[in-house]
């Protein structure tokens, strides 16, 4: 499965993931706490500069991710124009764009394996409380492996439906789809048990 990490190598790709996540947390707190329009505008320009530094491809992908916010941005602008507070609307719009932009930037410059390593580190304290981190690791692998398989099975069910009916497949396809998923889950569970199960002392 393709992650959202950018294939365009940037300097930030080599930075430790925990550092980028800590910086993101700090930046988001500052953005939320600050009510100054000039500061928010500068922060947004700074964010755009960070997107522009690695080149046009990286910038385009980043802007595309922000583009999804347009319905909310239009709503904010119209709302604040109606109530006669355009600068307030601009401030919230800029803050929203910068916060989402910086978070997306961290995702684009951090490899999936590095992110999972941070998640494992964060979950370490829970292991002492009884969380089976090995089960979690296997669960992550299973979801990554099964999402495309399930999506493919869903497509096949949709095609089979369309071969029989003129209408598009609707919610009725979801029942056989879910039964297929459950059967897969049962078979995979059996396969894992056959290979030694989740016992941490055995090999899978």
């Amino acid at each position: 499965m393709i992650s959202l990490t950018s294939p365009v190598e940037t300097r930030a790709h080599s930075w430790p993931a925990w550092l980028k996540l800590s910086l993101l947390c700090a930046a988001t707190i500052v953005l939320v706490a600050n009510q100054n329009l000039a500061f928010q505008a500068a922060a947004f320009l700074g964010c755009l500069t960070l997107y522009a530094l690695p080149g046009r491809t990286f910038f385009t992908v980043g802007v595309k991710a922000l583009w999804g916010l347009w319905p909310f941005l239009i709503l904010l602008v119209v709302w604040h124009l109606v109530i006669g507070d355009p600068s307030g609307g601009l401030l919230i719009t800029l803050r929203l764009l910068t916060a989402v932009g910086l978070a997306t930037l961290v995702t684009m410059t951090t490899r999936l394996s590095d992110m999972i390593a941070v998640a494992q580190w964060l979950l370490k304290p829970f292991a002492r409380l009884g969380l089976n981190t090995r089960a979690l690791e296997l669960g992550i692998a299973l979801v990554i492996r099964f999402t495309p398989t399930l999506a493919d099975k869903g497509r096949q069910l949709g095609q089979a439906w369309q071969a029989r009916a003129r209408t598009k497949p609707r919610w009725r396809v979801i029942l056989p789809f879910t039964v297929l998923a459950i059967d897969d889950a049962e078979q995979v569970a059996e396969a894992i048990r056959a290979r030694g199960g989740l016992d941490p002392t055995s090999r899978i």
């Binding site: 499965m1 393709i2 992650s3 959202l4 993101l24 988001t28 991710a65 999804g68 916010l69 909310f72 709503l75 904010l76 709302w79 919230i92 929203l96 989402v100 932009g101 978070a103 997306t104 961290v106 995702t107 999936l112 992110m115 999972i116 998640a119 089960a135 296997l138 669960g139 992550i140 299973l142 979801v143 990554i144 099964f146 999402t147 398989t149 399930l150 999506a151 869903g154 497509r155 949709g158 598009k168 497949p169 609707r170 919610w171 396809v173 979801i174 029942l175 789809f177 879910t178 998923a181 459950i182 897969d184 889950a185 049962e186 995979v188 569970a189 059996e190 894992i192 199960g197 989740l198």
Partner: protein, 184 residues
């Protein structure tokens, strides 16, 4: 143990798959995907604890950067956006939905699953979604609520579908409906 894990993982994958397949848009007139239907199903089929774990596993993978949300969205950005409240509400919605199905056993499963999906998947979920939207967009709770009411009819339809599907699944694979499995 292995069976619980694979069912949790497969339902997390199901949430993703239902977001990836546009053919499964429910088509009741409102442009909705089946992804929140999957959240309801996590609760009604897997029960409170395992349903919540499936949703948390899915959200973890979204947060680490996989494009699993409807429309190929994912990464940390979605947790800072206006609809982030809904994402934070997903595990709680699955938990409440599952808890109701687990505890309320005196009535027909279809009816219980529909009511549980409405309480968990709509009332609880929208409470989180509205609070999140009011914080991110700096609106009052009433203003934020007004922005999302258009989606409620679609979600009620999804709750009905979740109820019918849960009962049908219980007939087809009774042992796999973990919220009721001990009754078989």
């Amino acid at each position: 143990m292995e069976r619980n894990l694979t069912l949790i993982a497969l339902f997390a994958a199901l949430i993703a798959a239902l977001g990836l397949i546009p053919a499964f848009s429910l088509g009741f007139g409102v442009p909705i995907t089946a992804q929140t239907l999957a959240i309801m199903l996590c609760g009604t089929v897997l029960g409170a604890k395992r349903g919540t774990l499936a949703v948390l596993l899915f959200l973890l993978l979204v947060a680490v950067g996989l494009p699993l949300l409807a429309g190929g969205r994912g990464g940390l950005g979605v947790f800072a956006g206006p609809t982030s409240g809904f994402l934070f509400g997903w595990p709680v919605a699955a938990f409440v939905t599952g808890l109701i199905v687990e505890r309320w056993r005196s009535t027909n499963l279809t009816v219980v699953a529909i009511i549980a999906s409405i309480i968990g998947g709509i009332i609880v979920l929208y409470a989180f979604g509205i609070v999140g939207m009011s914080i991110v967009l700096d609106r009052t709770l009433i203003e934020a609520a007004a922005l999302v009411t258009a989606f409620i009819p679609g979600d009620i339809a999804k709750a009905v579908v979740a109820g019918i599907l849960t009962a049908a699944l219980y007939k087809a694979r009774p042992q796999s409906v973990l919220s009721r499995a001990d009754q078989v």
